[in-house]
Symmetry: C2
Subunit: 232 residues, 2 copies
């Protein structure tokens, strides 16, 4: 199914790694984590075990930095057989606090694209993760003025999107989602009959990796965000 | 100003300690925290320092169990001069995980009141805290069917309420908020020209304590939730 862009009235933007840098900071934090745990295990094992711990805790903690901090602490305990020092645990808390406090780096092209779309479409931000953290990032990004609405979802599955479109009284035909994650920003939309645009970011969290379907239908992939202007 | 209940079309319910038990679990967790820290300080000092740590981290972490867990760990480090054992830190993680996983205890009268109001008013849940945690509690409470909409706010200040009422296209005159916190569920509403009903819970978090205004205006206090049925 081709996308009929002339039907589109509302555009949803993913935030992390679509509007601003995010995954890069998690990669840096993981790097620091593995340096701190180096006395106990190989880098490869440390990476694997931290990821496993995050996955084990995902249902309980959800997405976001605070859950990541708690998983780092628990994983450090496990990897070190509870021998990790108190000083190192404090360093793990600091890594997380720095992640929460850092300035927001808006990605290239974002302001240009939003400037061209504003007034012509209803623009909304659809992000998952921690509510306070995402509100704070939007405020620091200075992008708030472009958006009619911001919705932080606890997850980005088909049901989360259907419920939201219903609540905002948006029909699937008139909705286009733009984001970097095929798994979270593209495929669930296509599955509920809406359209999507995939703009890859150079770094993808392992949890967000998914095999692209063979028959690409209901979505397009573009190289950089400004490419969307050829369609809208 | 008296409340004109005949104007009310939409009723917002606070969730924690209005629909279900919450503060009690935090009190129990603090109790366990002070038992674990007993070797280092007096109970009074432990309570005070944990609260201070939560307040220090509130801007960074926001409300909810995950931030509380991180503050417990940091406070345990500080109270013990970094001597707290790794085993105790694991116990702190367990305390938090149990808080997140426990069943939801719906408060007395809630189902009776919601049964009587449903269909006659648009009912919404307005809560602050962790998004995933609050969605999970609502689902476990079996109260979802009564509500048209659930909104988790990062805070409950005047601006959060004004923005939300505007977004949901609800006028202040037709909105009534019901909740246990004078500070979060009552006074901000009165200040923006809406109405509120205060239903105290037996336990109030120190952070939520506030002096009641001398001239009670725009809100009423009731003893138990069913008392509201005399007005609606």
């Amino acid at each position: 199914m081709e996308i009929d862009f002339s039907n589109i009235k509302v555009i949803g933007f993913d935030a992390d790694d679509t509007l601003w840098v995010n995954e890069t900071y998690f990669r840096e934090a993981e790097e620091r984590f593995s340096e701190l745990l180096e006395p106990y295990e190989t880098k490869n094992k440390i990476d694997q075990e931290l990821f496993k711990m995050e996955m084990k805790n995902l249902e309980l903690y959800g997405y976001g930095v605070k859950g990541f901090m708690l998983s780092m602490i628990e994983s450090a305990m496990e990897l070190s057989n509870n021998e990790i020092s108190q000083a190192t645990i404090l360093k793990l808390l600091d890594i997380g606090k720095e992640m929460i406090s850092r300035p927001v780096e808006v990605l290239d092209d974002v302001v240009e694209v939003l400037e061209k779309l504003k007034g012509r479409y209803r623009l909304i931000v659809l992000t998952k993760g921690d509510l306070l953290d995402q509100e704070r990032k939007l405020s620091r990004s200075n992008l708030s003025e472009y958006f009619h609405h911001v919705e932080v979802l606890s997850d980005k599955k088909e049901k989360n999107y259907s419920d939201l479109l219903q609540h905002l009284q948006i029909s699937t035909k008139e909705f286009l989602m733009i984001g970097n994650s095929l798994k979270s920003d593209v495929l669930p939309l296509v599955n509920i009959g809406a359209s999507a645009v995939h703009v890859p970011f150079h770094t993808t969290w392992k949890h967000e990796e998914v095999i692209a379907p063979k028959n690409k239908s209901g979505y397009i992939s573009i190289q950089k965000l400004t490419d969307i202007l050829a369609y809208l």
